[in-house]
């Protein structure tokens, strides 16, 4: 937090730009990857390999007619997708794209917001993101939307518990020599870089639980019952059209990007690759390499997100809730207990 104002703004613009570039790329990637998995082609008319398809989709959404159902509270109807999109973008602010850049005498940490409470910001943003869904469902003045919104938000708050407990399980591994841990994601990556072992090998169960909970938090298959077409029409975004729907869409994909980024930093070593990006303090070339490694891992994990969507069947709602409360939550607690014991015994 000692950066001058212009540097803060620059970092914010970079992170924002990165996310906003990844989201349309992700939309296209989803359609192409799903097509490839289903032995068909996917969009390839608009631009080379369909690269301009997201642009076409954006133009379509901008120019579509905004249908607003009657009896709808205007401000909340518009604010709901904005809340969802904003919270997803906030999560990206605490993700480290690289280590510490050293230019001359100035040391710049390659995080947009290098706060001490890194992961807590992610949890807080996802907690506030629930409002976007709930209000979207309620403000649509329609039974199906309300039910879909309530189902979706109940799912999200249920899996937030598993998310937080699995997170605690891996934060225990972030203690440095003095035994003091840190919430900051850049510190977690730095510790993984120091020890050379990624956390996924030291806390595999936490990785599994966190990833599952992240899937549920972003309402992605196999947990996307509230917005599946055969159920409840479209769930909370049934009544939304054009750009407001576009914002919900953006929020969902930005949440995917943010969730993947957090998982990559917590478990998969962030910008660290053994023998390629060993140290934390680097010059400009090293920083570019770190960012490239991070991006590669991010894209790989996003591919995994998409792959899972088109592979696994969808959970029914009661199965979903039962899984979250009776299976994942006790597992996360047990993981916390065991990890705490192992760390205290000095084994991990």
């Amino acid at each position: 937090m000692n950066d001058p104002l212009w540097l803060m703004l620059l970092k914010s613009v970079v992170v924002f730009g990165l996310t906003m570039t990844l989201v349309p790329a992700l939309v296209l990637a989803e359609r192409r990857v799903s097509a490839w998995m289903q032995y068909r082609v996917g969009p390839n008319r608009v631009g080379p390999f369909g690269a301009l398809q997201p642009l076409a989709d954006l133009v379509k959404m901008l120019f579509k007619e905004e249908v607003r159902p009657g009896g709808v509270p205007g401000f909340l109807f518009t604010a709901a997708p904005a809340i969802a999109a904003t919270c997803s973008l906030v999560m990206m602010a605490v993700v480290p794209l690289g280590g510490t850049l050293e230019i001359g005498e100035r040391r710049i940490r390659l995080v947009a917001a290098d706060v001490d409470l890194g992961v807590l910001v992610v949890l807080a943003a996802s907690s506030i993101g629930v409002y976007g869904i709930t209000l979207g469902g309620w403000a649509s003045n329609s039974k199906y939307s309300l039910l879909g919104g309530l189902r979706s938000s109940a799912q999200m708050i249920s899996y937030e518990l598993t998310l937080a407990l699995a997170l605690l399980g891996v934060l225990l591994l972030g203690a440095d020599g003095t035994g003091l841990g840190s919430f900051s994601l850049s510190d977690m990556v730095a510790r993984q870089a120091e020890s050379g072992v990624w956390n996924v090998f030291r806390a595999p169960l936490a990785f599994l639980l966190f990833t599952t909970a992240a899937f549920a938090e972003t309402n992605r298959l196999p947990f996307d019952l509230p917005e599946a077409e055969p159920e409840l029409v479209g769930g909370y975004h049934t009544e939304y059209s054009a750009m407001r729907f576009g914002l919900f869409f953006l929020g969902e994909y930005a949440a995917m990007v943010a969730g993947s980024a957090v998982i990559v930093c917590l478990f998969l070593g962030g910008w660290h690759l053994p023998y390629v990006t060993p140290s934390e303090v680097v010059g400009v070339g090293g920083a570019a390499l770190q960012a490239a490694v991070f991006l590669a891992k991010l894209l790989a994990f996003l591919f995994f997100f998409i792959h899972v969507r088109w592979t696994l069947p969808r959970f029914r709602y009661d199965q979903l809730m039962r899984l979250g409360w009776t299976v994942l939550l006790p597992l996360a607690l047990a993981n916390l207990l065991v990890t705490g014991g192992l760390v205290a015994a000095g084994i991990l």
């Binding site: 409470l117 506030i128 409002y131 309620w138």
Partner: protein, 172 residues
Amino acid sequence: MIDERVAFVAFAVVALTGAVNVVVRRNPVHGALWLASAFLGIAGLFLTLGAGLLAAIQVIVYAGAIMVLFLFVILLLNLEAPPFEGISIARGASLLAGAATVALLVHPLVVARELQLPAQPPVPDVPATAGNVAAELFTRFALPFEIVSLLLLVAMVGAIHVARRPRPGESA
């Protein structure tokens, strides 16, 4: 950098408008949303006081879980916003009670000159970071911590039991 007083005033305005709207709004859904925004303002105030962990917990627990629970119940009950009936004597008396409470609480601030001095910088060796809060919480306050855990368990069981629908064959 932005002056601390500006940050205080901004967050205080958010908290106060939220609080006023909770009391004033007829529609309970709007009231709940304004209360959530007031909680976010109070979280900002915690940040200006240097209590970062508390600010995060305020957002995650209060604004992000408790208020969502409130919202669930309000939405599920599908209440209507009653029309404004006017200021009755009872309402006037309650406003007076609120004002009297504020006067009572503010009175020592006005009378005792020492509370009006500019604040000293906080104690540097024990700032309210997560590590220090945890150190206090798990050593000196370990017993209250365990009791509060038990309290939460009791509250959970109680809430589930009270809110349960009677199964067919059972009486309410």
